[in-house]
């Protein structure tokens, strides 16, 4: 069979047609609505406890519709970054986690300065470090209002603990692990006794321990500081993998969620926001959980801000909604439904919080546990590249856990990956 076109040309033609690799970027348009009606989009991840509040706000403001858009944690932040540079497409309100807030406050010109809208009057209500975290370096622009703070504790399964012959009362359990070394010992004992894994994943030890350190991945001059805090946290995480107490389940994935119901692990470091996830994921374990203190003292893991990107069409309406959301009444409501701890210390004394016990967690006095942790906290500077660096180091820990990386070589690998991610 002969054709007049040379074969190479035909191959090239096919290559040209099919071969152009199109990297599609997903765009979403926000509509302003008609007839004076305003639709506010709000992007966040996990559960911010907004479902009921949305209904309530819409009932009070009949011209406002609120579109809740919950996505994956890293993806939401990356998406916001892309839209800021592209100049359009950002939501009216974007939630930003503390792990990414420094990256965004260094682009303060792309956000509405909430001080211009009169947010300055709330400064005294906030934990001072929380207020400063979203304040631009020159102090002139406040890009976000804080919602929750991490406040660490340790959730544990009372039924699994008693089956392993461990105490179940929360004070006794807290006394089991004054330090992380003791914590690992208890874990080894549990695994030896029951043959089951103690923790869900070593990365979920790494993050809270890192949160307790003076200096995290970066110092205030944006220099990578792996030898300090990260090394301490990394060593514990790798040790946990080495002694075989980790179930090696990737957080927020199907098998992890299944682990909550199947008892694949017995403890889980719990920032306040984790409570909502446990309740939603494993409603059947109601009453089997309890909350003890975390080894090693105060620390934070996560905590968010609500920002209003400048490119939004309804910045005034958006600010009004944000302002409404951070009022004590709503903050307390969120705390009660999903457990997110407000970042306004005055509320901790409010009986609605101070006396609140969580029935799901065996009536644990969460209104006492979490505020104590949040107040005894030294805030850590989280660099601009904190997000990607964290993902890179978590991946190294995961490789140790699945046996493809020797723990002896892991630290060198972690440094290499962190340097690459921070570039």
């Amino acid at each position: 069979m002969r054709r007049s076109t040379p074969r190479w040309l035909r191959v090239a033609a096919v290559g040209l047609t099919v071969g152009s690799l199109v990297v599609a970027c997903s765009g979403r348009s926000t509509t302003g609505g008609s007839g004076g009606e305003v639709t506010l989009t709000i992007n966040f991840w996990g559960d911010f406890g907004l479902q009921d509040l949305k209904t309530k706000y819409e009932a009070e403001h009949t011209n406002v519709k609120i579109a809740l858009n919950s996505g994956e944690y890293n993806a939401q932040h990356e998406d916001l970054q892309k839209k800021l540079i592209a100049g359009s497409g950002a939501p009216d309100i974007a939630a930003v986690d503390e792990g990414f807030i420094v990256q965004f406050r260094s682009q303060a010109d792309k956000f509405v300065n909430l001080l211009d809208k009169g947010a300055g009057k709330y400064e005294t209500a906030y934990l001072p470090w929380k207020w400063k975290q979203s304040l631009s370096a020159d102090g002139a622009t406040q890009i976000g209002l804080g919602t929750d703070v991490g406040g660490l504790a340790m959730c544990y399964r009372t039924d699994l603990f008693s089956a392993a012959g461990l105490p179940t009362a929360r004070d006794q359990v807290s006394a089991l692990w004054p330090t992380w070394d003791k914590f690992l010992e208890v874990g080894q004992g549990y695994t030896a006794e029951t043959g089951k894994k103690f923790i869900d994943n070593a990365t979920n030890l790494f993050n809270p321990i890192l949160g307790q350190q003076q200096v995290g991945f970066f110092d205030a001059d944006e220099q990578l500081q792996m030898a300090g805090g990260p090394k301490v946290a990394f060593d514990y995480a790798v040790r946990a993998a080495d002694v075989g107490i980790s179930a090696n389940l990737t957080s927020f994935q199907a098998d992890w969620d299944k682990g909550f119901t199947s008892g694949a692990f017995a403890v889980l470091p719990c920032p306040a926001w984790m409570l909502g996830h446990i309740q939603n994921t494993a409603p059947g374990t109601r009453g089997q959980w309890d909350i003890a203190t975390v080894p090693g003292g105060g620390g934070s893991w996560g905590g968010s801000f609500l920002t209003v990107p400048k490119q939004g069409r309804n910045v005034d309406e958006a600010y009004r909604f944000v302002e409404w959301l951070i009022q004590p009444e709503q903050q307390i409501e969120v705390f009660k439904t999903v457990g997110n701890l407000p970042s306004q210390p005055a509320l901790y004394a409010d009986p609605a919080i101070a006396e609140f016990t969580n029935e799901f967690f065996n009536a644990a006095p969460v209104g006492q546990i979490f505020p104590r942790m949040a107040e005894g906290l030294t805030p850590q500077y989280l660099g601009r590249k904190n997000g990607p660096t964290r993902v890179a180091v978590e991946n190294v820990i995961n490789r140790v856990q699945n046996g493809t990386l020797a723990s002896g070589a892991a630290w060198a690998e972690a440094i290499k990956e962190a340097e690459k991610a921070g570039r």
Binding site: R7, V14, L16, G19, V23, E78, K258
Partner: protein
């Protein structure tokens, strides 16, 4: 009247110019520039810097290695099995249409849907793949972690690719086989050729153009593999292809560098490099197939 044919084929070429050629050329321009979404200050011409960086980038090397590994594990069995299935379908069978339609079913299943199912299939703790292997006595002590090392993850992904494309290629082969006259087979049978020999000595040479076509198509598809490796990750959002990039393909790396690391210039350079690699490999494969199936050129 002379211009009517040109007029009629013009829509395709106009669309191709707008959505095919222009993006590709623009991509080439971007590849020669600095363009970082997280650092708007860093713009301007980079010259060949992005391409030079590729040569020493361990991630790119790793991705290229993975892509070719998965490519070999998927394309070769895929086309061989498709040939065998096609020659089976070419015989007289009961419920012939049923078999032929059945072969095409995987192809019409949306790729994301099937990948999500395979994701559960290859799950470490509760997966059917491990359960089936367990019946054979493999991995009963420690179940295979399909996402932990290169070989296992490659096999898993190649399985998904094969599953989807075998039937499609088989039907292409079948269509070509239908045009082979029956008497050729009858004559060869008289000369004592078995079915296997008939397949290699008669069928394959006689459907050579289609074989070459499928080889080129699967080369292009295989080297651009994206959806399967992307969704095979437990947290697809990281676009890492495993904790250590065990199965990260080039297309996936392009996505990660562009939209995760927000380094568009470098990502564009990568996709251009991939484009050139595909051209070379497709050309080589065509030559090779041509030789094997008895062509002279």
């Amino acid at each position: 009247m002379r211009y009517v044919p040109y007029l009629l084929i013009a829509p395709f070429f106009l669309l191709f110019l707008v959505f095919g050629l222009f993006p590709m050329i623009f991509n080439g321009v971007v590849a020669l520039r600095h363009w970082r979404l997280d650092d708007p200050e860093l713009t301007g011409w980079a010259g060949t810097e992005n391409f030079r960086r590729l040569l020493t980038d361990g991630d790119f090397g790793n991705a290229l290695y993975n892509t070719f590994g998965i490519f070999l594990l998927s394309t070769v069995p895929q086309l061989l099995l498709a040939l065998v299935i096609a020659s089976m379908l070419n015989r007289r069978l009961r419920a012939q249409t049923w078999w032929r339609v059945g072969a095409l079913l995987p192809y019409i299943t949306p790729i994301t849907a099937s990948t999500l199912v395979f994701n559960v299939f290859f799950s470490r703790d509760f997966g059917m793949a491990n359960w089936a292997l367990g019946l054979l006595g493999i991995g009963t002590e420690t179940p295979i972690d399909w996402r932990a090392d290169k070989l296992h993850s490659w096999i898993a992904i190649a399985t998904m690719v094969n599953w989807k494309w075998i039937g499609y290629n088989a039907l292409l082969y079948l269509a070509a086989m239908q045009s082979i006259p029956r008497d050729v087979y009858e004559a060869s049978a008289l000369d004592g050729a078995g079915p296997w020999r008939q397949l290699w000595r008669i069928t394959v040479p006689m459907i050579r153009p289609v074989v070459i076509f499928t080889v080129v198509l699967s080369t292009i598809g295989g080297l651009q593999l994206f959806t399967e490796p992307m969704l095979f990750d437990l947290n697809a959002q990281t676009a890492r292809g495993g904790a250590g990039g065990e199965w990260q393909t080039v297309a996936q790396l392009v996505y990660k560098v562009g939209w995760k690391d927000l380094n568009l210039g470098y990502a564009a350079a990568m996709s251009w490099a991939l484009f050139l690699i595909i051209l070379v490999v497709a050309a080589l494969n065509t030559l090779l197939t041509n030789r094997i199936s008895g062509g002279r050129r």
